[in-house]
Symmetry: C2
Subunit: 407 residues, 2 copies
Amino acid sequence: MSSFKFTIQSKLGGGTLARAGVLETAHGQIETPAFVVVGTKGTVKSLNPEQVRDAGTQVVLANTYHLYLQPGDEAVKKMGGLGKMMNWSGPTMTDSGGFQVFSLGAAYKKGISKVVQTVDPSLLIPERFDDSDAPRLAKIGQDGVSFTSHLDGSVHYITPEKSIQIQHNLGADIIFAFDECTSPTEDLKYQEEALERTHNWARRSLEEHNKLNSENKVALFGIVQGGREERLRKDSAKFISEVEVDGKKFDGFGIGGSFAKEDMSTAVKWVNSILPEDKPRHLLGIGEPEDLFMGIENGVDLFDCVLPTRLGRNGTIYTKTGKIHIMNTEFRTDISPIENDCECYTCKNYSKAYLSHLFHGKEMLAGTLASIHNVYFLVNLVKQIRQSIIDGTFFEFKKSFLEKYLK
Amino acid sequence: MSSFKFTIQSKLGGGTLARAGVLETAHGQIETPAFVVVGTKGTVKSLNPEQVRDAGTQVVLANTYHLYLQPGDEAVKKMGGLGKMMNWSGPTMTDSGGFQVFSLGAAYKKGISKVVQTVDPSLLIPERFDDSDAPRLAKIGQDGVSFTSHLDGSVHYITPEKSIQIQHNLGADIIFAFDECTSPTEDLKYQEEALERTHNWARRSLEEHNKLNSENKVALFGIVQGGREERLRKDSAKFISEVEVDGKKFDGFGIGGSFAKEDMSTAVKWVNSILPEDKPRHLLGIGEPEDLFMGIENGVDLFDCVLPTRLGRNGTIYTKTGKIHIMNTEFRTDISPIENDCECYTCKNYSKAYLSHLFHGKEMLAGTLASIHNVYFLVNLVKQIRQSIIDGTFFEFKKSFLEKYLK
């Protein structure tokens, strides 16, 4: 009996693909749509697990690439697996390391990120990837990817089988097939070759997962790629939906790729119109409030993004009227909270003037308090969107929120 | 009616000056002896107030010098004072800025710290002073101290009156008279001159405090100086005990100075034999476990020190068998907690291997978890010493603890 189950509770209808559901895992339920909080190295940066939970987080995603290099997947296993190691009792996910293929291989030093159309330079960093740890060499072959560790110069070779073995050692509830995320600047020929590799790797990932998942506790998501090409995206959605090994298919789906803002909704719509309705879909490495509305409207159930904690550490803070930078002069004497009606720990207990002081003083608590608010903001936004699907008020909520937020 | 009251509950006797008491402030009681946790800029580095409280902390001390420069004492006052600003509801203290006179004036660049006799280079940093923020100019005159801000190059002049005004704006429960802390390398003539200044400044501090303390909510401690000279220390203890302005004396005492380890106990004993028994005594900027036993045995009620958080951020962790460095290879695969019988949050929830991973990964949670343990360790050690005074088992406890700790 699988620990994993997905139930749709409510559909918005009206030409949208939006739905509210519940995803059951071996470590508890996730109400979807849900914002997944990223803890790259097995810690959500600057927060402890109680702070992560109190900000409303349901599920944490760690990066396979980072944990494989340090402390090593065997070490994580020895510590009881990702959740036990980091003292997080709720559901966990790991990505496959495939995004690193993109960041470090084809797209390396091309300045390409998950979202390329943006005015804010801080967003030009690949969102799911901590570039301070970037290895300096990665090479993609038909069988897998080789790269040199940024930590000690050691050479590593990751195949789909290896990625799945590592992820089973890490021990998350939901894991991902190994994929290649291409750059939108690559030509069609490369996109086709890469997609063939991704599909081949998907099948091999599923095969390896079946061998290791005898207790049926872990869910494997396949990743749809295909860049901005409608034909490739649809081919990929179809292949990943249907691929079967020993009678088993993927338990859910990731939608991968580096998107220009204006391409994202089309690609998501193409894919989600094809993916089977009864399985969850995760839009990888996204996003910003406007992306969350777009994704959910087009049938996305899960999002993950490092922005709330990355921006928080830099003093950039989400508010319902747009992002603010807390180090600006105007906030030095502002004794009101970030948002008067926000229920997060930071807003209930601290003023903007104190936050400003902490950032100017380079105090560690600064990043913690800002990250708590940002995580709460995005997690809570997705919860509100979920409720608006159930209530049938999605479009009113979207309009009123984005009008103020994007003003 | 003063909010401040000190009651001695139990004396150890046996030729010692050790006692257990209770200090009442406008923000609650402090059971003494107590270890005061330092929050230099109005935040205990890497911890939020709940973590500070859960580690057993009774009282937090902030640095007047730092808060005066940023965000400014008027800004702190506007935020509701130190405690409200930082969301700490318990008792608070501020020092007078006098220690900066020492660090930045006479002793500047002489490599002299609170504890000069030590084998651990990390301890050679002045313990109460965050040297990353060191101004580069300080000049001592008869009337006060001038210095240049490290933040913006602005020139400031602090007199005893100014220090007390600033501290009243900061709004702590216990504040200190402005003093000059001399270096033990200065000659007797300089020590005598400096002590005369300190005594003059003590009287002026008391006078200014009386003007500002009409509600009688704030306690002012005078600081005893005098270096390693028996005559000067005793003169100072006598003067600071007896000095009176408008019928009011100091509510308690700080013992200041930069000590060589072997001088400390003599100086503390000289002073505490003279200071009135019914008022609390604070040994400023100390200390290490062995210093805590020494100080308490010789009649000290309060200690403050940045070491638990500073060492914690560097990965140096207190244990009952001495300090360990968590980044050492042996801990990478050690899945036991720092101490099996420790009741701190870190030991109850995390392994040494995970802590090691966080430090190697330069994750912010690393410093937080290590600081929580270190604060708990020292705060709890002083609580145990307090209990041993009440139980009459001080010497047995001291022997058994230090035998293991200093092994």
